[in-house]
Symmetry: C2
Subunit: 104 residues, 2 copies
DNA sequence: TGACTGTATGTCATATTCGACATATAGTGT
DNA sequence: ACACTATATGTCGAATATGACATACAGTCA
């Protein structure tokens, strides 16, 4: 089972915090998945807060509704770059990004 | 002139802090470039601090010396994903990443 | 029930990013 | 001068992420 496949499973059913002991993910892989999920949560929270639909956000970042849905679900085919660009498009500053990554 | 080309120029000669008024970068593009440069700086600082060569870091992340050099120079062909993975490989926690992105 | 709105998921051709390699540049020591 | 080490830069075929599309699912309203 390849790492990308495992990552896909992880981001699906289970909370990652509880999933560390599952499957043979290296600590680095876990950290990256957790990072992606933090950004995913932050993105959804920001979008909802602004009362935008996924379609509206997609338009703002020149993407598509389906990709936004994948962003917010932590889908491993979504790059951190795209998550960052989307957050920035929603007005997030570097400090906002820092808070999303490592909440106080 | 395409945005990626402009980004390449920006990351070369000039400090971005001074380059906002150059070229027609949108605020979002500037923010993304600044983010990439913060990560680039953070990566180099961490690597040097650990007294590793670019070749050694490359081995740790299964990449190549040339790509590490590009990472550290903020080359626009380097993804934020790769920067994040490299920082994590050097032991950076989410909190460390947050500090790199938005220093106190 | 059906129509409508918003979100989720799978697939695919294209675009972007990848590691690898060659080669250039800079510094250090002999 | 040469040899050696570390870093920078350009290129390329292969790998990965992309937007777009179809379609499924869930909730709401009439």
């Amino acid at each position: 089972m390849r790492a990308s496949k495992r990552a896909k499973l992880v981001s699906r059913g289970w909370k990652v915090g509880d999933a560390k002991e599952f499957l043979d993910l290296s600590p680095e892989e876990v950290a990256l998945i957790e990072l992606r999920l933090k950004l995913a949560e932050g993105l959804k929270a920001r979008r909802v807060r602004k009362r935008l639909t996924q379609i509206e956000l997609a338009a703002a970042v020149q993407s598509s509704q389906s990709r936004v849905a994948k962003m917010e679900s932590g889908d491993p085919t979504v790059s951190i770059d795209l998550l960052m660009r989307s957050l920035i498009a929603l007005g997030a500053s570097r400090r906002d990004l820092a808070r999303i990554i490592a909440p106080k």
